[in-house]
Symmetry: D2
Subunit: 310 residues, 4 copies
């Protein structure tokens, strides 16, 4: 990665600080399933009043696999226009092939992303061993104009970025961290331990284990639930960072069920439904994702109300 | 699907006959990972001398997730130019979103596909239940200018198209069959049983259970191994169809290990390596797929030679 | 296994012929959950009129993990007393430890078993690799007074006896076959292929893939469904063995759903419920197995009636 | 559970305090695979000098599935004789059937156990839903002379005790806690949250997530690693309980790899090997568990030495 080292050496000096809370924002659609930029803009107006570190655009909750490459970039560009300069914009640029990921990472940087979030390719998961994944991420990081954050989300990809690969990749000067959505707290603690020489930054990929992640050394979280309870997650962060663990525990416990509801239990359609309840625009999903059923809406409401959020 | 019924009524009269063997062809790449149309053409010249029913283009073995939409269509167009008119061209047109799949199916038909093979979307697999998948495939089939073949490949997608969804979809006039790569012979038999009123055609998705699939009522196979042992698989078909089961068994047994080697054990890179041994062009894979290691090459060779194929 | 070779050499001369159909019989319990020997005896009177090759006693359907070692032996002894001498009695003698399995196999032989069916130990499944399992089965086979049949049932054990271990174990003079309940027809075909030099006998472990198993070279089946549709399964065997595959297919297809209902869908409690409908004694299960719910009974009935069996 | 309420009412007044660290002790065997009571006694002499809350006897690390019921009770009796009265003895009494578990729990109490640890029955895991498991544990708790601790260990049983079942069972007066070895920290936090009205006590089932478990509200740990690094785990407990999280994190991180080595990576044989290095008697496992291979010994040693423990 000689080229990278020359071009980017200024960056190494001032490593991008990822610490804090990020909502992986949802993509609102119109009734015809087109991106609804107006509603997206209105959501951003709400988010800007919350002390987020930044936003993740085109994460799993943004339905990125359903957008064209052009749409993915356009949404990032639109978000960048509205987002204050001091808020970090992390853009999902992962594709199945290395070459497509390289190209999309460049476009995301040009569209204003401060960092790219690169998910593990997974279709040929039987062949996506450490060797293949290290090559993939290295090539992407070598050419990316902005820092790379690794992204492991086994619930969607059926694949976990192997710990040894994370450790090796953490030494790359343009790879600054990992978003881990698997929820294996032992693994998170070990990653923090084995990458401490690299000042590698670990982000919890879900609000369900945010406090525990802080406890073992994570520096922040990218949490679907932050789309609806963003202020509360920022408060949880403050409690953890300032060592007020007893208060943190009480708050964390009330967030587990609503978080599970909008993630592994009912997914993106539930997140979008809940957003409507909290004054944001969720709206429909793009097909084949279907809206939550009436029974699921009841369950979702219970998971929020029984914890005092509705 | 009223529109469909008007436009396509001629087709219902003469249901597309899928019976027979298809190689899901590999996509050769140059050293720079571009599609190598010259080598593709040469492979087609070899295949045309084998009594295949047709070819599958952009199946999993064609590395379709690594191609752009344009490349996917271009490869189909190139194959159609070389393929005799009496050979069926089945083109993979599955994407994650319904709208992209609809559009790509239309392009594939325009490029000369006789049918489209549509894989289950899978990224949000927790939400891809029967309801969502039935809507997805129905919408695609409603608008597709050519018949649709369903495609269930759990090893890659982590998702099996539910049996009840298959049964309901089999009633759609523009859905003519299923390629099932899961290898659950009980399920295959039950699908044949529950769709018999619809003249729905089941294709085995792998050579490992081809004879058993014929035995329970399948009409053909889309088999990676047909890229290298195509003549032998056509012979196995003949033996099964003519009821010469004893001979079929002997041949089938010798095909299981080489088939496993080029599919679930070592995957597409091994298939491409084996193609080189049999006078075809396999070549490199597009990254992040890595070539087989030296140890894997040895194992691959053993799986062919110990069964008398090398 | 020197000792074995001396003691058992007479047996090698006349290898035990396993070919045919076996019900893995259920264990009836009284209302107080004691073994109901009276009802067991009455069931045996029904079974004796069906052309079974024999019976499996203390297979998974016999709730053997819920019986004490004494009960396991007593039930075998009771069955042997009622069973005509020309019917083969295969007794489940598998335990978690090798020493317990060795002892129980001896007791089963003394109680009248013609062969023992030995399931893979599985509690420490992470350590139950080929090496450990080969040692286990070898030790058991070395000392067993009667031939050993291997038993792989991943749905219950979470473990599949590795193919290489099967092949190596097939060479042991006192191991005569395998009951495979996994349903992977490719694996079954390969096992037949790789053990053909040993005259190793493969039995399908479920009625759902019985015809396909015969097709690839199995010699019989141990089928839960034989407890209720025993005559029909014996007829399916006859059709397969005599090459009447078209008729076999029609019959096989009607058996898949009732078979799934009494095995993986609803399990032993459903099997016992269905037995009541067909004039046999099923009765309650031993706790913690609970009886089927009312909704499950409806589903079970539909799976039989929609295929013309009720 | 009327009977229970009368007999045990004294206990409700003074709920058994489980808080602290427990080694789930290994069972040493002689070369002939008999229980080696002499070496067991010597191990206990070492453990008594460590500030453990007590010992778990016949947990998974005690190879209980390989012992006869008599041996299981004898080992508990032997441990009780050596153990100071102020150390808690928790005895594994779980069996597959409810009746066997009831009987063994009574024997364990008679042999001196202060509490019984009852694992989820799992052989018919497809039928072991909340309903069945609640009945099982309720019946056991109703009749057990000593308090019951639930035990969920999916790596061995392939089954997780459902959260709703845990919550309901936590209301039983004779069920005082849960040992959870699954490592899902979100689940642990939610269990603490949903059982807080019952003063239900959660114990981490592994040292890998001990600090995180304390962080979310657990009160102790049953940790295989405590057999070799018991003093260090007790120190980790002290750091967590006294809120010295920074120091706790440093110590926790160094324990993850050795813990993984003696649990999910290499299991009981590795634990026994490591015990030898730390002046304890591990010795052989009972067959079919095999000793670690030479390569595994190297790996095991690295996992301890690279973290400064050897």
């Amino acid at each position: 990665c000689t080229v990278w080292k020359q071009n980017q050496s200024h960056r190494v000096a001032a490593r991008l600080d990822l610490s804090g809370i990020y909502p992986p924002i949802a993509t609102p659609f119109t009734a015809k399933e087109d991106v609804d930029y107006q509603k997206l803009e209105e959501n951003l107006q709400s988010y800007v009043r919350i002390p987020f570190k930044g936003l993740v655009v085109q994460g799993s909750n943004g339905e990125y696999p359903y957008l064209t490459d052009e749409e993915r970039v356009d949404v990032v560009r639109a978000v960048r226009r509205s987002l204050p300069a001091d808020k970090l914009l992390m853009a999902g640029s992962g594709c199945e092939s290395t070459r497509a990921t390289v190209q999309l990472s460049e476009k995301m940087a040009a569209a204003g992303a401060d960092a790219v979030l690169v998910v593990t390719p997974c279709f040929y998961r039987g062949r996506m061993d450490g060797r293949a994944l290290i090559r993939h991420f290295t090539k992407v990081a070598d050419s990316s104009p902005v820092p790379v954050v690794l992204y492991s989300v086994p619930a969607n990809t059926g694949l976990e970025l192997p710990l040894d690969a994370v450790v090796q990749l953490s030494q790359h000067p343009n790879i600054v961290g990992l978003k881990d959505s698997g929820g294996d707290i032992t693994r998170l603690g070990l990653i923090v331990h084995k990458t401490k020489a690299q000042d590698f930054q670990v982000l919890a990929g879900s609000a369900g284990f945010l406090m525990a992640a802080y406890c073992v050394g994570a520096v922040g979280g990218v949490c679907a639930l932050a789309n609806v309870l963003g202020r509360e997650l920022c408060e949880l962060q403050t409690l953890c960072v300032s060592g007020r663990w007893e208060e943190a525990r009480v708050l964390q416990q009330r967030l587990i069920e609503p978080n599970a509801a909008v993630t592994r239990k009912l997914g993106v359609p539930a997140l979008k439904q809940a957003m409507e309840w909290f004054g944001l625009h969720g709206g429909a999903c793009r097909s084949p994702l279907q809206p939550v059923t009436e029974a699921e809406v009841q369950q979702l409401r219970r998971d929020f109300s029984s914890n005092g959020w509705l």
